[in-house]
Symmetry: C2
Subunit: 104 residues, 2 copies
């Protein structure tokens, strides 16, 4: 919800359905968001959750995405997510070609 960067830049779309056991999930999601913000090349993050949760993080380059993917704390969080929190998930890596918007 802000001008993030000149296109092209990159977006990681993460969609998930939660399992019944979500103890610790929201704390970890918050921690991961704080951690992502400290990564080189991080541009922003948007999230929303209804039945489906969607988190989109925005990055300057594919290299920045790879570094975040391999971040040790992030790797541990993902393992815990797959083991406990997620019923299903999907991850898409995208190149953002055009962007526009406005505050009304």
């Amino acid at each position: 919800m802000k001008n993030r960067n000149k296109t092209p830049y990159y977006a990681v779309i993460f969609t998930s359905e939660l399992s019944e056991d979500i103890s610790g999930y929201y704390e970890m999601a918050q921690q991961m968001e704080e951690q992502a913000k400290t990564q080189d090349g991080f541009l922003g993050i948007d999230s929303a959750r209804s039945a489906l949760g969607i988190t989109i993080s925005y990055w300057e380059s594919m290299e920045a995405i790879t570094a975040w993917k391999n971040n040790t704390q992030h790797v541990k969080a993902k393992q815990k997510g797959i083991k406990q929190w997620y019923k299903s998930y999907q991850l898409s890596i995208c190149r953002v070609e055009q962007e526009y918007g406005e505050k009304i």
Copy 2:
């Protein structure tokens, strides 16, 4: 939340914050989703809303996105959205390069 297509394909990320007057919004959102599904090249849609709303629609090609952008009913819905429902919005057009996921 399904295998949509072989990459590359395209995604339109629409994020919005709603204004105080959202009368008619959810009906229109539902109608637009039904309408989008009838468009050539439509692959799928994901949405979630918290403080921020995120809707991602997936398309076979940029041509399919342009056709949906110019669809008469969609144009009218967008005008009404800008006039009444949205406090702010942002739209990003992306090329999906990689995708993976699983049912756990």
